[in-house]
């Protein structure tokens, strides 16, 4: 009798574990989403302003996702805006060689965005990397 009871208990536990595994795999599938925001070339009016250690990047664009940080590439001199949902917008300008001393030590950039007279300012981190 005790053996029967234990067998049933193990059987029920196995069913419960299997159901839990099925649930978790379902959630994992749902979490795989394409990046939000703008991906690829951002073909809009753009300006990059330098004064002492301060840098401003202005883009004439209304982001649908929140800009998280800005990346620069030391090889290609490209500039990208990484958004919270994972999308990466490539800015239509490059890091100016004449300002290398400034952008090499740059930590943060004020990103000014918006198409109308109302703008949005994000003070975001700047990271430099070298293309692989």
């Amino acid at each position: 009798m005790l053996k029967d009871l234990l067998t049933k208990l193990v059987y029920k536990l196995c069913i419960w574990r299997k159901a839990e595994d099925d649930d978790s795999s379902f959630v994992a599938d749902e979490e795989v989403k394409s990046p939000k925001g703008v991906n690829g070339l951002l073909d809009v009016e753009t300006a990059l302003l330098f004064e002492d250690s301060r840098v401003i990047l202005m883009v004439d664009y209304d982001f649908s996702d929140v800009p998280s940080w800005i990346e620069g590439d030391t090889e290609t001199k490209s500039i990208s805006i990484v958004q919270m949902g994972g999308a990466v917008a490539n800015v239509k300008m490059t890091l100016p060689e004449q300002e290398k001393e400034r952008w090499q030590n740059l930590k943060r950039v004020a990103l000014v965005s918006g198409t109308g007279s109302q703008k949005l300012m994000h003070y975001v981190s700047f990271t430099l990397h070298k293309a692989a």
């Binding site: 004064e51 301060r54 239509k92």
Partner: protein, 114 residues
């Protein structure tokens, strides 16, 4: 004080002036400039949003005389001298003949004459 601005060939004076306004606020506010951002003379209607600070630039709010050296597209640089209090976008538009401001200026109607 000199700002060096690199821009795409197509750039409006209003957009460039908005960026200059933010630079003016950064200059006077220091490292923690975001705290006093909304009270700067070149910044209007500042509102903290979840993802940044919304604002409109006060085109007449520049706090100090500033030279702006503009490299537009692949062209050579031109220097614009902005005086504190004067309308930044109008002065920038003068220096960049094809740049647009939000309102048409006198004599800027390029439509065919009848």
């Amino acid at each position: 004080m000199t700002i060096t601005a690199y821009t795409t060939q197509n750039i409006s004076a209003d957009n460039l002036a908005a960026a200059v306004a933010v630079m003016d606020a950064m200059r006077t506010g220091g490292d923690d400039f975001t705290a006093g951002f909304g009270s700067h003379s070149a910044i209007e209607n500042a509102e903290n949003k979840q993802d940044g600070i919304a604002f409109t630039a006060n085109m007449s709010g520049l706090s100090a005389d500033t030279d702006v050296e503009i490299y537009r597209g692949k062209s050579h640089g031109v220097t614009v001298q902005l005086t504190a209090g004067e309308k930044m976008n109008d002065k920038l538009a003068e220096a960049m003949p094809t740049a647009q401001t939000s309102k048409p200026t006198a004599g800027s109607d390029l439509s065919p004459k009848k």
